[in-house]
Symmetry: C2
Subunit: 404 residues, 2 copies
């Protein structure tokens, strides 16, 4: 008799963004006249840059001619893309990463969700609290955690690293030593960043304890300050303790195109086994490459014209972040993030819970944000706003906040 | 200390197609003058149909305009695609499958590899022998099998269903009852098909024993005979025991575009738990949707113009299969498959092993095929040829076979 993986049954309720979508749908059905402004889910709104569009058209034409048609992509990605990433994202920042250490995929969410597979079920994970739900949920589904405790809103056998106002929303070295440490900076959801010296401490700690850091750098393009690292490989010794995830979603508006990559240095090992070969094996067995046309679009992101147009897009979203940050501060809210990140982390007023504030904001101002508690109990009484709306909507939202 | 998932270490050597690629690379480096004909890996060679190319261009333009830009796709796929699949692939064949039972993905390989995740590690799998390696390897990596026995060339705790000349390359009901049964018809690698009455027996068996059939129908577009089912849902009772995988790769030349889907009927359950919700949860947590432009291209496959153009492509590949089948038979080879499938299954001459014949064919005729033993010990002394080459190359390969 077939049985299910009952680890799935440990997951309480539905995925955060599905719940938000349902609540918004119900509200708009009841109030069809409401003009909802969505600053909730981290989805971009600007169209693809011209250079990306032009490149996609060219690649589509290639697929339509026998001489230039491309079938299965190489498992780990086309060399043209791996080479340009190694050069521009790493070489030019002084990071020693070679093209064959870069694994192209259809996005950082998939990679962040799948990476745990190559590790033992006995490994204990550490995550920030609040945290992007994928890190925890993918480990729950694999059976690497204990049961969910609805009182504590936490899973057993997970080391939670509280990121609160008191510690500047940055995790502190835990008492127990974790085997796998998920870090995401610039952070989703808080927008906090870790300076190079602080990240170096984590790298040293991981090397000393033979832990592996799973570093999600999906938001690096939003960094504006000098001493904030774009890559964990800017830290000494990271090649022997860290895997890095990158995404084109927030960098170049690829949320609907799907492209990302994972970096695994060749010398990185766990208990004497090289991780590079295991991830290559997973790619070869359970994945079939990102579409050729999308990989060409990814390459265009690094061209001079592509870079220029994408910088403008990011500047636009940064401008939104600044509007929200300044506007909400002026209106008396307590806010952080938004300087090196597209996320603004807002303390709910009047000690409202995150979901109370969600309902309040939806009903009174027709604004959709993301309840902080959806990212873990450390996010309770907080609320995430994103800078990915249009400028017009962002300004309008700030005005509505002021009137609230 | 981080440890690896040591189930990965049970996998012997590298993935079949990587080994072939290495051997061919080494040969061409040593013999740069050789004109190699590749009838090995099942990759298509015809360019995308005009209707698909036109649709991709239109969708790319939409992505370049703010009013029509699309960010994250719905987790489970766009309704426009799910609806047309439900209607054309199922409704029109008399199968009762609704749009919300269809999960769009980036390909059947990923889905076939990932599906095992929603089942218990205690479940015992049955696979045909020979078999597409992904079914077994993904279960090995998850820890659902025992160790690899190099003598038997088999993993422990797997029920192998021999598919040999004696049984017409069709699996027989095993003595021990499996929990999960992988079936792929039209079959990769043998090209054999299962008639409706034979598949009905498996459906009845699965329902009786509360097993789940994982039915890979990636090659259904190549079926030419009337009593061969295109979908397992043509069998009575399949809704309570079967999951089906479909691909656009071999149907419409999407190997380099990446699109497929999985069907899970809402009433299908294992030990009282509905599988539909578990797979939706997996999609929501570890996947982020297929690209909008690719989903639009998938929709175009079902338009009148798209269908017509794609029928021509499939007819072209079918013509190749016929050439190989007739040519090799005339040359005295023992061959099967190729009538309802793009694969021809060839018995090696002079009792050569599959890899001996691979080397022989590469060196003496500069033809690349796939060694049958790469699909399991039941494939030893067999060889797979594919119909996906150009007509010119296929005819030339047949001539070379005749001279061999």
């Amino acid at each position: 008799m077939a049985k299910v993986n009952d680890n799935y049954l440990k997951l309480p309720g539905s995925y955060l963004f599905s719940t938000i979508a349902r609540k918004v749908r119900e509200y708009t059905e009841a109030h069809p006249e409401a003009r909802i402004i969505r600053l909730g889910i981290g989805d971009v709104t600007q169209p693809l840059a011209e250079e990306i569009v032009d490149t996609l058209h060219k690649a589509v034409d290639e697929m339509g001619r026998a001489e230039t048609f491309r079938g299965y992509a190489p498992d780990l990605g086309y060399d043209f893309l791996r080479n340009v990433i190694a050069k521009k994202d790493y070489g030019e920042r002084g990071c020693d990463i070679s093209a064959d250490e870069i694994f192209i995929s259809d996005g950082a969410k998939c990679d962040c969700g799948n990476i745990q597979e190559i590790f033992s079920l006995e490994n204990r994970i550490a995550v920030c609290d609040p945290v992007y739900p994928v890190y925890v949920d993918s480990n729950v589904m694999a059976g690497r955690t204990g049961a969910y405790d609805p009182e504590k809103e936490r899973f057993g056998n997970v080391i939670y690293l509280p990121c609160l106002e008191a510690n500047g929303f940055l995790p502190e070295i835990p008492e127990e030593v974790p085997d796998l440490i998920y870090l995401c900076f610039p952070n989703n959801p808080t927008g906090a960043v870790m300076k190079r010296s602080a990240l170096q401490e984590w790298v040293d700690y991981a090397n000393k304890n033979h832990s592996v850091i799973l570093f999600d750098a999906a938001y690096e393009a939003y960094i504006t300050e000098e001493d904030v690292p774009h890559s964990i490989y800017e830290c000494e010794g990271a090649r022997t303790c860290a895997i890095e995830f990158r995404s084109f979603s927030k960098t170049a508006g690829f949320t609907g195109l799907r492209l990302g990559f994972t970096v695994i240095p060749k010398e990185l090992e766990a208990d004497g086994v090289k991780l590079h070969g295991l991830w290559a094996r997973r790619h070869g067995t359970k994945y079939n490459g990102a579409p050729y046309i999308v990989q060409r679009a990814g390459e265009a992101v690094y061209s001079d014209r592509g870079r220029e147009q994408i910088r403008e897009q990011i500047a636009y979203y940064r401008g939104n972040a600044e509007c929200i940050l300044k506007g909400l501060r002026a209106a008396g809210y307590s806010v952080s993030g938004g300087v090196n990140a597209p996320y603004i982390w807002l303390k709910t007023p009047d000690h409202m819970t995150s979901w109370e504030f969600f309902d309040h904001l939806l009903e009174k101002a027709n604004i959709v944000g993301t309840p902080g508690s959806g990212f873990g109990p450390g996010g309770e009484h907080y609320f995430r706003l994103t800078a990915f709306g249009s400028r017009e909507n962002t300004l309008e939202a700030v005005e509505r906040f002021k009137k609230l």
